[in-house]
Amino acid sequence: MQLPPALHARLAGAPGAAAPLPVQRDSLAGNAPFRFAARQVRFPREHEFFEDGDVQRHLYLQDVITQVAAEPERPRVPEFTCQVAGCCQAFDALEDYEHHYHTLHGNVCSYCKRAFPSGHLLDTHIQEWHDSLFQILAERQDMYQCLVEGCTEKFRTSRDRKQHLVAHHLYPADFRFDKPRKAQQAWERAGALVQHPSPSVPCGCALTL
């Protein structure tokens, strides 16, 4: 199949379309017994027309085994240690360090040092565990937001939220990043009581226990 040499130049040229030649149809065209009519065709997903291309696609999926070590972005480096205070983990590859850092030191709560897999979960945790304003607001409105990204539901208690996660989002009942904070609550309240300067200052926390 020989292509005209000017074609490649046309491809590289400016966008544009030819001024169309005049269209002039005769009513006899396409008349019985002839049946041609120019028309666009669309094929749905399972049509056999797509068989060859689909098979090629799946051969590709089955074939490719990735060669991780061939990646230029993963050089081995002289051993170094994690610089975070108190951590002495050693590494000889940046990717390993990246993973370590994000797992252990990224998204870490500065109050209780718990690590979270994402910023979203960390923010939720800080709000619910360490923000006393949250507790106050939670007495009057639905403050516990659903943990699933994209779901905007809010709940009155963390138990209600868990129920929603399980029933609606099919999450496991013991989802690790949704631990209830009962023990924490008691501890904080004990701490707050001790810090109060004078017994005459109204202390909401003691009363709501």
């Binding site: 030819a18 120019a38 749905p44 994000h102 099919l170 496991p172």
Partner: protein, 493 residues
């Protein structure tokens, strides 16, 4: 500009002939699967280099006791290296189907694995994820479905930051997605679509390719048109996908292939293609086609056809949408460079993958059917003759070529004038010598148009023994009427 995708790894010690034979077998199996609408393929991510370092690819079958010991060490070992090594041993064992079966039948095994997956020890997490990945790749449903308790965590980790880990989670999810509708019925409420929509903003190419793979698997599901595609179209995914398909220095072949297939599954399901058109899909895909035509001229890169195929399909199907037809509108594809690109790609198909010629010609039909402009360009760019050369490839191709020629001819005398004389008559006489009913039928249609619009055509036909060529088809049921009518027209005008 085209960054090569990661290379194919061949098992060593396999002769070329054996490989070809295996490929033919796999191809036959895939065709059969497709006809039964069971076309499913999983992807396995394995770190070959680490395996070599670990002492070759001998896969050990682990027994119950061994598995239990490895799990115990991984969970409760004192030294971190010791825990890691235990998990690595487990992972290697899990490459074998028998170990997989033993593992899933062991009480608490998945629970322990999930516990390790969600621990704060990065390397244990990674190894646990690799174990899950091996399980997800199994062809045994029971094994793959054993991974279900981990899915909420896999999805949660997609909003993390470690690209390696995310990549692994995505391929694992991709494998689980194709497993069964039951799995998808869990993943959808767990928020897989929003999780993917958030993750697609990652700058890491490896993550993007994995995400494209997982998404393509999701979109290929039987229930996708009703249950999945509407969710995807309602998210920010389409805009990001189109962005990742923009031609330019940042385009990565591996990533683009995955997302082009995603787009194909969405478009051919015909849920809401008008939306995609308003988001600029036609323009993006048109420009990408131009880019691909330029690329096939420059490089022998194996694999470009993997991207050309879905792009051609998407364009072709989108052109049939009403929204695409508003001539002169911003969404209308009216650049004749598209035609130039398509022919360059047809030539590429002819050499590389002739089975894709029909798809390319289908796009050509959809471009020319209702477009005087494209039909004119076909003439002015001298593409009629190259088109005629394709007539010898196969019956399916011939029918499509003749259909495109009919698209041009039916527009009237001004068009037929340019089809005549040249090679057209001798070529048509050749096709009349064939026995395929559809090919002959379409040739007869084209001849009727030529007789109608081109003075002298009928006469030339008679002079070249056209009547004799028609005779052998006089008794064929589907052709009789048209053949007789044509004979009459030729003789009496």
């Amino acid at each position: 500009m085209w960054r090569g995708r990661r290379g194919l790894l061949r098992p060593s010690g396999c002769g070329v002939e054996e490989l070809r034979c295996r490929r033919r077998e796999r191809e036959a199996a895939l065709r059969k699967a497709r006809r039964e609408q069971q076309l499913v393929s999983k992807r396995l991510l394995r770190d070959e280099a680490t395996e070599e370092a670990e002492g070759g690819r001998v896969v050990v079958i682990l027994g119950e006791a061994q598995i239990q010991e490895f799990l115990r060490l991984a969970q409760r070992g004192i030294e971190e290296k010791e825990r890691e090594r235990a998990l690595v041993s487990l992972r290697r064992g899990l490459q074998h189907p028998e170990t997989q079966q033993t593992f899933i039948r062991l009480e608490g095994s998945i629970r322990t694995l999930v516990g390790l997956l969600t621990s704060n020890q990065a390397l244990l997490q990674l190894e646990a994820a690799r174990c899950l990945h091996e399980l997800s790749h199994s062809e045994q449903s029971a094994v793959a479905e054993a991974c279900l308790p981990a899915t909420s965590y896999l999805l949660t980790y997609l909003s993390g930051h470690s690209s390696d880990f995310i990549e692994l989670c995505l391929y694992t999810l991709g494998n689980l997605i194709v497993e069964s509708e039951a799995v998808r019925r869990q993943l959808l409420p767990q928020g897989i679509v929003p999780a993917l929509a958030a993750c697609i903003q990652s700058p890491h190419l490896t993550v993007l390719e994995a995400l494209g793979y997982a998404l393509s698997q999701l979109l290929q599901a039987k229930e996708a048109p009703e249950k999945i595609i509407p969710l995807v179209l309602g998210s920010t995914l389409p805009q990001h996908i189109l962005q990742l398909l923009q031609p330019g220095p940042k385009l990565n072949l591996g990533v683009a292939v995955e997302f082009a297939w995603c787009l194909h599954y969405i478009i051919c399901s015909q849920v809401n293609n008008a939306l995609l058109i308003t988001q600029g899909a036609l323009t993006t895909l048109g420009l990408l086609l131009l880019d691909l035509a330029a690329a096939v001229q420059r490089t022998e890169d194996a694999g470009l056809e993997l991207l050309v195929c879905p792009v051609v399909r998407c364009l072709s199907n989108l052109l049939t949408e009403a929204a695409a037809e508003t001539v002169g509108g911003p969404m209308h594809l009216q650049d004749e460079r598209v035609l130039a690109a398509l022919f360059i790609l047809l030539q590429f198909f002819l050499h590389k993958q002739p089975s894709l010629l029909p798809e390319g010609l289908w796009l050509l039909n959809n471009l020319t059917a209702n477009s005087p402009s494209f039909c004119t360009s076909l003439i002015s760019l001298d593409l009629i003759e190259p088109l005629l050369h394709l007539l010898s490839v196969s019956n399916v191709v011939s029918v499509l070529v003749l259909t495109v020629l009919c698209n041009v001819a039916e527009k009237g005398p001004a068009y037929c004038q340019h089809l005549w004389p040249g090679l057209l008559l001798p070529t048509l006489l050749d096709t009349l010598a064939l026995s395929d009913t559809e090919v002959v039928g379409q040739s007869v249609e084209l001849l009727q148009l030529l007789f109608l619009y081109q003075p002298g055509a009928a006469q030339a036909f008679l002079q070249q023994s056209g009547l004799q060529a028609l005779q052998r088809h006089e008794e064929v049921a589907q052709l009789q009427d048209r053949v007789h009518a044509l004979q009459q027209t030729a003789l009496h005008g």
